[in-house]
Subunit: 177 residues, 2 copies
């Protein structure tokens, strides 16, 4: 699934500018799909060429002109077709786990820092998700929040449980070079 397809999804929730869609990516989609302006604006341009979205240019006196995009019927069908055929995959790119994999090459101080930093970030994400959980939303969206909470809590517990032993073991097992 590419950014073009998820832009159709974003517009299925209501008309929006590229800027609005970026905010949606940063808020509602942030814990499972990332995209920046560099992929969103070209995606909208191509979708417009293909007739899957249309837009109104809204003149604004004190701001750059807005392009408010809407999903066309063709675009809506395209999106539903994508949902029906996209396999439910999940892909993780974890710099954190790369650092753990090569823990034996890290100075002890740095390994401790890395664990703390990653723990902090997870606790921050947890708070965001806990706030979202309190607000009401459709069951599908609620599920994405519960799933995020479950995996984030598991990550935090795993780190808290193994941290001390890990810091100890890495430097007793370590071959001095």
């Amino acid at each position: 699934m590419d950014v073009k397809t998820l832009c159709l999804g974003a517009l299925s929730l209501g008309d929006a500018t590229g800027y609005d869609i970026k905010k949606l990516f940063d808020e509602a989609f942030s814990h499972f799909f990332a995209a920046g302006y560099g992929s969103i604006y070209p995606a909208l341009e191509k979708l417009a060429e293909e007739g899957k979205v249309s837009y109104d240019r809204k003149q604004q006196e004190k701001r750059p002109d807005k392009k408010v995009f809407s999903l066309t019927p063709v675009g809506r069908e395209e999106f539903i077709h994508a949902l029906e055929t996209t396999p439910p995959r999940e892909k993780v790119r974890s710099e954190f786990l790369v650092l753990m994999f090569f823990a034996h090459l890290l100075p002890p101080q740095r390994l401790a820092e890395v664990l703390q930093e990653f723990l902090d970030e997870n606790n921050k994400n947890l708070k965001v998700l806990e706030d979202l959980e309190r607000g009401g939303c459709p069951p599908g969206i609620k599920f994405t929040i519960h799933y995020g909470l479950a995996t984030t809590r598991a990550a935090i517990e795993c780190i808290e449980q193994s941290r001390d032993a890990l810091l100890h073991e890495v430097y007793s097992t370590q071959v001095i070079q």
Copy 2:
């Protein structure tokens, strides 16, 4: 962190061809970092230009010639420097959660299928990780396995616990269009 850097990491484990490194990505790194030939071969070429890896061309009678790459001292320092400065991030791209977010646009049959398929894949990954867990390996690597087990188990439990209610709710909440 880019593929170039992780190729240095791969070579820190021992000399290898591009083909060998691809296997390492598919096995040891697969649950936290993906890369294909299309990024590995260009990465090795650039690293060689920069003097961070060297290679021996091994002629083989019955196979295409091998290029066996080795980490140079410069490359090793570069890798350790990268480990010391890379922030411990984690990024997920989940087509599964996109499908859940837009569950209200999926036919009931398809939603059930998606959940089952994703559950099956997670159980498959779980078995791979459980097998890895039994084999002995350094503490840092062991940690990446435990972390994978913890988050995968949390994902499976979360789906098993909410699946039935979700299937029910989505289609009772749904606005018929």
